[in-house]
Amino acid sequence: MLQGTLIYGFINSVVLMLVALGFSVTFGISGVANFAYGALYVMAGYLSWLGLHSLGLPYWLAAPGAVAITAGVAAMIYWFILLRVRGLVVSEVIATFGMGLAILELFRYLGFIGFEYTLPPLIDASVMIGDTYVDAQRLCIVGAGILLAAFLWFFTHYTKTGLAFRGIAQDERTALTLGINADKVAAWSVAFGAGYAALAALVILPLGTIAVNEGYNVLVNALAVCIVGGLGSTVGIIVASFLIGFAQILTATYLETSWMMLVSLVAILAILVIKPSGLFGHQKQLEERI
């Protein structure tokens, strides 16, 4: 049982890391807390499904298409809505949350409810690890998690756009003096975060079904990981994912499965009381010291 718990705890942690990475990247660069993140995740799932089943496209075309469209929609949300309220934190939250609600409820209104909304696994097999069977899709999730985290590091350290991302994240005014277009980079970061959400959806959703409500769950999980790890800190995201991921699986295994959902909420409450900036966050450290 312990071995199985450790294996599934590790996989669950990577799932959390995947759903939180995009949210964290967007916030870390542009300062926009994208509350439409869960909706974009679900949208990628439905778009991919539509490509596969309604348009009859092959997976290699439907999946990247869904990622590109999701990123494009996120960029448009920034350009046509968020740009006007940029810097007004409350307005940004209201605007993104409103957009998220509109997207999710539109899918519900259009009748996207049912068990038929599933995505195919990348590898349809089971693997024995020790004495525990694990479906290969979960191993794909682990692989995707490592790849995406590594790509993020590479992208932000060795590409021009990535360096611009970091420039804006470190000091927007100074970056402006160096000729970096802050609005353009912020739009890119929102699209980049949404693209990460879409990629996460493509590898995680084959484990379950695509459901409107999943958008809300993903947002709660992403928020929990980002708040615990510290908004904008990639290292914090990874550490928090593993803390919450293992806590969830241990709760499900040794207590009750229905208590799993409480873990994220308790983690948010606990960290806000103990260290509001999160384990690796720097946003409010000065206020905390005071």
Binding site: M1, G4, F115, S126, Y133, L207, T257
Partner: protein, 422 residues
């Protein structure tokens, strides 16, 4: 005096305006369908109502006091099956339809027992009979039997109490045939599923003398069952009894296969009921024993009316029924309502209720009679009572009815690779 005349005139005018819709409504009989229309069971139950209404109207309509009146269907999506939709919101939708469309009766009704229980007072207040076909908590029956004001609430579908009778029969068979006595229960966190799991736990421990090695409850919308399956495997469960009606629950079977849990899956998972589930779940559901709550939602050659309904549905809508709960009783409800109105000879709700309570007639799901709590009696022979059943997915993708014996087409077989305990 002039003032009094004026008041009387205004009163008569207002009364006339208020009564006018009722008088106008007398040229048709309005059936309201208030349910979660976007969910499979709600959608197909709505289709089944339209099928029955079409047939009845084509045959001339309903005879009310010497006049033939057509049925008219009015529907509203109350969304109560969706996670997070509060009961008051669902009830607002139901009341909106009652007030605006003035239905003579409602059929199908709420998905969630929580919504039905909360809505019983509203139905009593407006005196609108409801022939429910989805919500399953036995509490409604108890309330109807206890308090006459709730007499307008009928349930034509199976309730949790009868459902456990069928599950107990299936488990009893597996105990005798394969020597199984360890079960792991997994249920959705909704009233009817909790009630089913609770009653079954008592039956397992008492009458069946089985060991309940674990019991997990999942919130509506949950889609990762791996930790619970791991527990079931570690605790040596021979049977896993799922009780779910949410779309995500079909994934449980894929995870059960992927993790190679050596236990028979026998219970109710709504997405696994229809014929297309085989394709949807990548042909990985062979060996699963699943319930169909009402005969007719699956056809049985041993009870021709069920097959006639099923075939008529396929002919009208061009695709097979996928829901195992709701459509057959929804179809039957319209015919029961027709018979009751004709027997009552009027559209008076109290007269319709009295006639419905005296129902003793065959239907597509077996013979229909109501208990004192307005619940259709379910049994094991379709000639004597209404019927629910269990079928097993064969390894080549066929649904084989395995229980009850009166309509069984085969016996329960162990999934490939699993051995009996005796």
């Amino acid at each position: 005096m002039r003032k009094l005349t004026c008041i009387l005139a205004i009163t008569m005018l207002i009364s006339g305006l208020l009564l006018a819709p009722a008088a106008l409504a007398a040229d048709k009989i309005v059936i309201g369908v208030t349910t979660s229309l976007n969910f499979l069971e709600g959608k197909e139950a709505h289709n089944a109502v339209n099928l029955a209404v079409g047939e009845i109207n084509k045959a001339g309509g309903v005879k009310v006091g010497g006049k033939m009146l057509p049925f008219v269907v009015e529907s509203i999506d109350i969304r109560d099956a969706a996670p997070g939709v509060p009961v008051p919101e669902a009830l607002l939708g139901m009341e909106k339809l009652i007030l605006e469309k003035k239905p003579n009766a409602l059929v199908v009704g709420p998905f969630r027992s929580e919504a039905l229980l909360a809505g019983m007072d509203m139905l009593a207040k407006h005196k609108v009979p409801l022939l429910g076909t989805i919500a399953m908590s036995p509490k409604t029956e108890a309330r109807v039997a206890k308090n006459p004001k709730y007499k307008y609430v009928f349930r034509v579908s199976l309730d949790a109490k009868y459902f456990v009778g069928y599950i107990a029969g299936v488990m009893g068979f597996m105990g005798k045939e394969f020597g199984f006595n360890k079960v792991f229960i997994m249920n959705q966190d909704v009233a009817w599923a909790r009630a089913t799991a609770g009653i079954m736990t008592k039956i397992f421990k008492g009458k069946l003398k089985w060991d309940v090695v674990g019991h997990e409850t999942f919130p509506t919308g949950a889609s990762d069952f791996a930790p619970a399956l791991m527990k079931a495997k570690m605790k040596g469960a021979q049977v896993i009894m799922p009780v779910f009606d949410m779309p995500q629950s079909g994934i449980l079977i894929k995870q059960w296969k992927a993790m190679k849990v050596p236990a028979v899956m026998a219970g109710f998972i709504s997405p696994l009921t229809g014929p297309t589930a085989w394709k949807t779940f990548d042909a990985k559901i062979g060996g699963v024993v699943n319930a169909v709550f009402e005969l007719g939602s699956i056809p049985s050659a041993k009870y021709p009316p069920s097959k006639k309904f099923y075939d008529a549905y396929v002919a009208k809508y061009g695709k097979p029924l996928e829901a195992g709960h709701g459509p057959a009783p929804a179809y039957a409800s319209v015919y029961l309502l027709k018979a009751a109105i004709e027997k009552a000879g009027s559209l008076d709700p109290d007269a319709i209720v009295a006639a419905l309570r005296a129902t003793d007639a065959p239907s597509v799901m077996g013979h229909v009679k109501f208990t004192k709590g307005n619940q259709v009696i379910y049994g094991k022979d379709p000639k004597k009572a209404a019927l629910g059943c269990f079928f097993q997915w064969s390894d080549d993708g066929k649904r084989v009815i395995v229980y009850p014996p009166a309509i069984a087409e085969g016996k329960i077989k162990l999934p490939t690779g699993m051995k009996a305990a005796k």
